[in-house]
């Protein structure tokens, strides 16, 4: 398969199975982009998540654009981005049509009651993977613990947190 077709197919899969926002997508990207294709290292991917966090727009779209560009330039980024939003367009349109007619679909609700706890695990597993790649020594552990305290106790904004962490990294590494 040509690279642009593989990019489209991989990001279509990622878009189709991402429920509950950006971080839940990390294990999918890890599996498809890092493990199955070796298109990125885990470290490069974590850096991309940081960039996606401090730039506008949904994280899924940001990651697709970045990965696509690295692998196949402008058209790679265009197709990866198109791939990640295509399932949304199709499913949302179908779902809206169905819900417009019947108003509620109990089976769908039951399905999502089961999916929701799995999404929590998906994000927890993402946190575990990112931590495993990010924690290289005592300095990085100290930064993560400080960041957790700042997030939960002081409610620091994520962008400010990443800027502070970048400054800390430049000073201690």
């Amino acid at each position: 398969m040509p690279i642009w077709a593989e990019l489209f197919a991989s990001f279509f899969k990622i878009g189709l199975f991402t429920f509950g926002g950006g971080y839940a997508m990390i294990p999918l990207i890890q599996r498809e982009i890092i493990e199955a294709h070796g298109w990125l290292t885990m470290e490069q991917f974590v850096d991309m998540v940081a960039i996606a966090e401090i730039t506008p727009g949904p994280i899924a779209v940001n990651c697709a654009t970045l990965v696509g560009f690295r692998l196949a330039g402008f058209w790679g980024s265009a197709l990866a981005t198109l791939g990640v939003v295509s399932p949304s367009s199709i499913v949302v349109t179908l779902l809206a049509a169905v819900l417009g007619r019947t108003r509620n679909v109990p089976r769908l609700e039951t399905f999502f009651r089961g999916v929701r706890p799995a999404v929590v695990s998906m994000i927890a597993y993402a946190g575990y993977s990112v931590a495993r790649s990010a924690l290289t020594d005592a300095r990085s552990v100290a930064i993560m613990v400080t960041a957790l305290v700042l997030l939960t106790r002081a409610r620091v904004h994520p962008i400010l947190l990443l800027v502070l962490a970048g400054v800390a990294g430049a000073l201690v590494f």
Binding site: A50, P56, V92
Partner: protein, 186 residues
Amino acid sequence: MTQSPYAVMFLTFFKVGLFTFGGGYAMVPIIRREVVERLKWATDEEFLDMLAVAQASPGPVAVNTSILVGAKVAGHAGSAVALAGTVLPSFLVILAIAAVFDTVRSFRLAEAAFSGIRPAVAALVLSAAYGLGSRALKTPTDAAVAVAAFLCLLLLRWHPAAVILAAGAYSLLADGLRSGRKAGER
């Protein structure tokens, strides 16, 4: 000057896409303000219905919401225009960053900064898991499903898509058994 509804829609979603940082959920209140309060394209109730569909569908919530708003105002063409408006700003910004990403990353100082940023990303994701977990895991069954899903990912190395489908299927099955038993008692 009267603008075409498509132009208004494109510009509105372009603005939303350009000025919301930190992922899809940050966009939702801004989309609501534009769509419900300023343009009056939907009532609050209609917007909540759209949000429910957007959350139940795969993909970024902001993208899904804009597709639904676009469809309500101007059908399929409307959803295409709204989608383009939402995605284009981040696409263009990231394209500019992607062009210099590897060069910047190779500088010694940037490398050190990223070594500090990576643990902070881990903290962000872990705290998101904790936050969602404390809201979404309401019953012992929820907690059991979450633990099982985590172990499938970590130890059995299941594909994340398989975990999602299995959790949904389990819920349907358990619900079917429960209603079957109730019918049997009667």
